[in-house]
Every structure is written in C-alpha cells, then in structure tokens.
C-alpha cells in the first residue's frame, strides 16, 4: 500500500470535464445561431445549386432536340432524293415510251403496216398520260 498515493482531482481536470459535458448544448446553440445569421447566404447557395441542375437539364434537352432535328433533316433529304429519283425515272420511262411510239408508227411510217390508226394512237397516248399521272 505504500506504493500508491491517493491524489485529489485538480481544478484543471474538473474544468476540462465540465467543458466536455456542457459543449453539445453550447455548440448546438452556436450552430443554430450561425445558420440563422447566414440563412440568406445558405439560401443563395441552394438556389445556385438548383440553377446549375436546371441549366444542365435544359441544356441537355435542347441538345437532344437539336440532334433529333439533324436526324430528321438527313432522313427528310434522303426521302426527298429517293422520291425525286423514282419520279424522274417514272417520267423518263414515260417519255421514252412516247418516243418509241412516235418512232415506230411515224418516223418509220409503219402505221399502216401495224394497222394502228390515228385514233388508236391518240387513245394510247391519252391512256399513257392518265396511267402515269
């Protein structure tokens, strides 16, 4: 028992202990006070964050729409070219048929040989025009 000595707690140790136990309330009050005092700035920060997200969403929506527009433009041009080529082919074929008719029955003067009268020729031309329109 001679090796051990009972020491009374000093004032410093007590004060440290006290500060540890009383701090949560004090800190909480300080935080509430600081937040209240800076509420307008905190709201501004939140507003900035919301604005950034809003800009990102609006921007990506606009970019997606533009990409869609580009696709539409290309598809439309492709469809136009295909239709125009088909129409041209159709008209050219029609004109070639008329040329062949004229060549066969007039230039080579084979109307009488084939038995095709002028009225028949007129009818064929009219039908050709009606069918290919």
């Amino acid at each position: 028992m001679d090796d051990f000595e009972i020491i009374e707690p000093t004032r410093d140790q007590i004060s440290v202990k006290d500060s540890r136990t009383s701090n949560p309330i004090g800190t909480h009050r300080e935080i509430v006070h600081a937040v209240a005092g800076n509420m307008d700035k905190i709201i501004d920060i939140a507003k900035d964050i919301v604005d950034i997200e809003k800009m990102k969403v609006q921007s990506s929506a606009m970019l997606a729409k533009m990409a869609e527009d580009r696709k539409m433009l290309l598809a439309e041009a492709e469809a136009y070219v295909a239709k125009k080529n088909a129409d041209t082919h159709n008209v050219v074929q029609r004109m070639r048929v008329i040329q062949d008719l004229l060549r066969d029955f007039y230039v080579h003067n084979q109307a009488s040989a084939s038995g095709l009268s002028g009225e028949d020729f007129s009818r064929i031309i009219t039908e050709l025009l009606t069918r290919t329109e």
Binding site: E30, I31, A34, V35, G37, N38, K41, I42, D44, I45, D48, I49, D51, I52, M55, K56, Q58, S59, M62, L63, M66, A67, D69, R70, L73, L74, E76, A77, E78, Y80, V81, K84, N85, D87, T88, V91, V92, M95, R96, I98, Q99, L102, R103, Y106, V107, N109, A111, G118, E119, F121, S122, I125, T126, L128, L129, E133
Partner: protein
C-alpha cells in the same frame, strides 16, 4: 475561420460553378446549332442536286421527244396532233413542277 467564412467560401464556389456551367451550356448549344446548320445546308444541297438531276434528265428526254416529233410532223392527222399536243403540254407542266420543286428546296 468561422462558420460565416465557410458559407462565404461556399457561396463563392457555387457562383463560380454556376457561371462556369452556364458558359459550358451556351458553348455546347452554340456548337450544336452550328452542326445543325451544317447538316441543314448539306441536306439542302443534296435535295437541290437531286432536283437539278431530275430536270436535266427531263430536258434531255424532252429534246429527244421534240426531235422525233418534228420528224413525225408531216404524217400527223388532226386527232393525233391534238393527242401529241396534249402530251407535250402535260410534259411541260411536269417540267414547271420540277422547276418549282427545285426552287422550293
């Protein structure tokens, strides 16, 4: 550095981030707009090229037709003449439509 300083720093960072995001969005949209203009011009060129090709094909066939028609002129009766005139008039209308198409592209 107290709480107020931290808030001020965060506010500064958020405003810088907002500005930077705004500039990035504007630049992205500008680039996309330019790309759309390029695609639009290319599509228009493609369509005009098809329209011009159609017109040329038509004109070549029309010339051939007129040549043959001139050769056949002497043998035409009245009804044949009317049929051929109708045919030519119809083809002329088609040409006008092709020209209109080319202009509208």
């Amino acid at each position: 550095m107290d709480f107020s300083d931290v808030i001020d720093a965060l506010k500064y960072v958020s405003s810088v981030a907002k500005e930077s995001e705004y500039l990035k969005c504007v630049e992205d949209i500008r680039q996309s707009g330019l790309e759309t203009l390029r695609v639009e011009a290319s599509a228009r060129r493609e369509k005009q090229s098809a329209a011009i090709k159609a017109l040329h094909s038509f004109d070549i066939e029309m010339v051939k037709l007129r040549v043959i028609l001139g050769l056949a002129k002497q043998n035409r009766t009245e009804s044949e003449s009317t049929a051929l005139e109708n045919c030519i008039s119809d083809l002329e209308k088609q040409r006008a439509r092709l020209v209109q198409d080319k202009r509208s592209v």
